[in-house]
Amino acid sequence: MMHSIAQKEFISTLRDRRFGVLSALVLALLLAATLVGRASYRTLQQERQLAQATVNEQFRNQPARHPHRVAHYGSFAFRPKSGLSLLDAGVDSFTGSAVFLEAHQQNSVNFSPAQQSGSLIRFGEMTVAFVLQLLVPLLIIFLCFGAFTQERETGTLKLLLSQGVTIRQVAWGKILGYSQAVALVVAPALALAAVLLFTGEEFASGVDLAARLTLFVVSYAVYFFLFVVGAVVVSAGQSSSRAALVTLLGFWILSGIILPKATANLGASLYPTTTKAQMDAEVHEQAQHGLNGHDPQDKRAAALKADLLKKYGVDSEDKLPVSVAGLQMAAGEEYSTRVYQQHFAALNATYQRQNRLSDWAGLLNPYQAIRPLSMGLAGSDFAHYVHFQQAAESYRYDLVQRLNGLQASMGYGDKERRLDASTWRAVPVFMYQAPTLGWAWPHLFLPMAALLLWAGLLSWIGLRLIATTPVA
């Protein structure tokens, strides 16, 4: 019985010209967004890969140099785009893509796409996620707002029920029928994306990507399902089609436009952060209490030197088998990095507090649940960005300490000597390994639970509400 109604809704929808036009538009946008997303992914990825290869080559081809000069020459880390970011660019447009890695300091990640465009970018970007998160729900609203009001207005509801169907069966039938229609619009674009992802040689396809894509599709299926159910429930609860439409559109504007911005802004107001200048100054001052690699006058540096003399049982620096400066530098780097890590962790904790308001709003607003979930799966959310920052910093630290170690092993008078050019070819280059789904899972749990909760509650309470809706 449910199936008959579902089929009726499906056929009616397909024959409705307005739906035809709207869904063709949405499908066209989706396909265009997929292709454009792929094109921009390619450009950015190639730029970054080329840049990374260039700096790696430059590093390996250095002439004979003193290791500390190499530490200042440094390297760059470029953030590779994640494969699925062609579907959901997430915060990628607002995060930098390149960070300069050098001794003594942690630089900011620079050159974000947002900095390279005017305020136009604040209107939003045409990505697959944008169409899926905001435009498809709008399509669903236009599709479903008359689900019950129209049947009541024309009297077909009575006719249906006089055939011995329950109102609950009618509702489920409608939900099923509308869901099929929505799937028809969305599926081709996602299929195209999947084909692009798994056939394009530039994508490292693998189990992780497949799992992420599957979850991505399932999440959006749940998201659309709850919009269909919600729209049908609202339609059953409202007295006229107009009232149902206005209610649903109001919800769309509130949840898709106003709330995300308001919660993000409120979060930032509630938990202020310091500037990078302030943070760097504090890191520097706190590191001063420890060793300073460039300051041989420093007391602690002197103590380290005294310890070394004692350890090797010699009375002057020139008799030591190691370079005091190199070891002092290593100790200084270790200390300042420890201080930096504390500040960096505190900063990210503050950001997480700022974002938590929005995360919890996902329990009230499905848009704010699908958004973090989608970008988390796509590998373009804040957590993935921090992962890159940490990977770059950890590489920087290892690189600098390796160079300090080389310097230390040069022994006394290292400043007058250089290490052979072949030394630099033995230093490993920066290779970023994007985290797996298992790593991202804890960040995705809350939004996923919120979506499922919404879907469950709507199907349970909403359908109970429908069952009590007046027929005559």
Binding site: V36, A51, R65, R69, H72, Y73, G74, F76, G90, V91, S93, F94, G96, A98, F100, N107, S108, N110, F111, S112, P113, A114, Q115, Q116, S117, G118, S119, L120, R122, F123, G124, E125, M126, F130, L134, L245, V246, L249, I257, I258, K261, A264, N265, G267, A268, S269, P272, T273, T274, T275, K276, A277, Q278, M279, A281, Q288, D295, Q354, N355, F382
Partner: protein, 460 residues
């Protein structure tokens, strides 16, 4: 006129009775006030952050004074000393934050090569900048049209659907007067709200009372008039309320959401920006190459540019600061064409958007508000140029110490140049925006007038 007054008065009574609409107006007022509050606190925070920077410089100087108790080599000071180029917001920025949260409001500078310092970013929460700013401009550009749509989508259709229109038009009153009175009433409500919010915003942000007050209000009024014009056109088609609502919301979606995002895409494709990444890589190669090049080669290149230091002593030491700073600067010069191309590319992108924003009055209004407040990309580029000049003046300050082998004393810290840059409005952009908005308004009312002429009101 008498009839007009009666109709106008009845609209007021209908409006008061319609709880939903009153609630909507209150909601807009509340969001507008929040927008003003957010904008002013955000700018206040930025001011606070900027105000803290001189303190950081002072602490840095104190540290150096301890480190170098006596007269020091200016090269050491230039290496360890950092100062800031600061971009102070205009008071108007509180009402239209633009890109002030995306672009850093200061640059930390040392005497080293400029190009790897100029593009450093500040700490930002990407999720927050992604969500955007909830400022007054957002409320006016995004939400006010929605209120206008909610007020106007059933301008005549509700009367028609309830069968009142027949009765109404059976009276000796011209249909144009009926529509005019209804529109006039809504216009008064919306302009009243927008004007109130604007004035509150201006007072709260303590903007200077200059011509920009008129500009802001004109922009707001024209933008509202545009959306009333769209409602008028849709009303002229005389379709049912639900169709009107969908059509108006469709126009909103098109102009406020779809056109901007598509334009963003096409501009990025049409005006690819030369890579900033390539620039910094090249600069690093140039600078570090300086260590390995013969010193005389470096110095001769430098002296060709700064002949006034040519007569200074020939460098025989293994390391000397003036040589170090010379190749730092030569590194900058080597990438000067790239740096100029990068800034030029960004400006061109902006210019193309400005040309094309005639396509969507929403983009035009946002661009114009940002231009008025000086919070968009061109202002940031101006700031970067200003920071570059500041870096030049720093070099000019230190070079005599370095090349003249003058010792740097504690008193010299206070003589170091400082920097301050305050956003300037982009007035030409603003004027062009106003003219274009006027054109959009004229176009939409022209279309409305034609439609009303060819389609007389059908009462049922």
């Amino acid at each position: 006129m008498h009839l007009f007054r009666i109709l106008f008065f009845y609209e007021w009574r209908h409006f008061r009775a319609a709880r939903g609409l009153v609630l909507l107006c209150c909601l807009l007022l509340a969001t507008g006030l929040y927008g003003i509050y957010y904008g002013t606190t955000e700018i206040e925070r930025q001011r606070q952050h900027l105000a803290n920077l001189p303190e950081l410089t002072r602490r840095n100087v104190d540290e150096l004074k301890v480190k170098f108790p006596g007269p020091a080599d200016a090269g050491d000071i230039g290496y360890y000393h950092s100062t800031f180029a600061m971009h102070h917001p205009d008071r108007w920025a509180a009402l239209s934050l633009g890109l002030r949260d995306v672009n850093p409001s200061y640059v930390k500078l040392r005497l080293l090569g400029l190009q790897n310092q100029l593009y450093a970013t500040d700490n930002t929460n990407p999720m927050k900048v992604l969500s955007g700013n909830f400022d007054l401009a957002f409320v006016l550009v995004y939400l006010l049209p929605l209120l206008i749509i909610a007020l106007c989508f059933n301008l005549l259709s509700s009367e028609r659907e309830e069968g009142i229109l027949v009765v109404l038009l059976a009276q000796p009153v011209r249909p144009a007067v009926v529509v005019g009175a209804k529109l006039a009433f809504r216009l008064v409500v919306v302009l009243g709200l927008a004007g109130l919010l604007s004035v509150v915003g201006m007072l709260w942000a303590q903007v200077p009372l200059d011509g920009r007050v008129i500009m802001w209000l004109s922009l707001t009024v024209l933008y509202c008039l545009f959306w009333f014009g769209v409602s008028l056109v849709v009303t002229a088609l005389q379709r049912p309320s639900a169709v009107n609502a969908v059509a108006l919301l469709g126009v909103w979606l098109l102009l406020v959401v779809l056109v901007p995002s598509l334009l963003n895409l096409s501009v990025a494709t049409a005006r690819p920006v030369p890579q900033g990444i390539a620039l910094t890589i090249k600069q690093r190669e140039e600078i570090h190459g300086g260590w390995d090049r013969p010193k005389t080669e470096t110095m001769n290149r430098f002296f060709a540019l700064y002949p006034q230091w040519r007569d200074t002593a020939t460098i025989r030491e293994r390391f000397v600061w003036r040589w170090y700073y010379a190749f730092q600067h030569l590194g900058d010069l080597a990438v000067a064409p790239q740096a100029a191309a990068y800034a030029h590319g960004l400006q061109q992108r902006y210019d193309l958007v400005e040309q094309l924003n005639l396509l969507s009055p929403a983009i035009n209004a946002q661009t114009s508000f940002n231009a008025l407040a000086g919070t968009d990309l061109p202002t940031h580029l101006q700031f970067q140029r200003s920071a570059t000049r500041f870096h030049d003046s720093l070099r000019a300050f230190y070079y005599p110490f370095l090349f003249g082998k003058v010792e740097f004393t504690h008193a010299d810290y206070a003589r170091e140049p400082t920097h301050s840059f305050t956003s300037q409005p982009e007035l030409p952009t603003l004027y062009r925006g106003l003219v274009k908005l006027l054109l959009s308004v004229a176009a939409v009312y022209g279309l409305g007038a034609v439609l009303w002429r060819v389609r007389p009101i059908i009462p049922r």
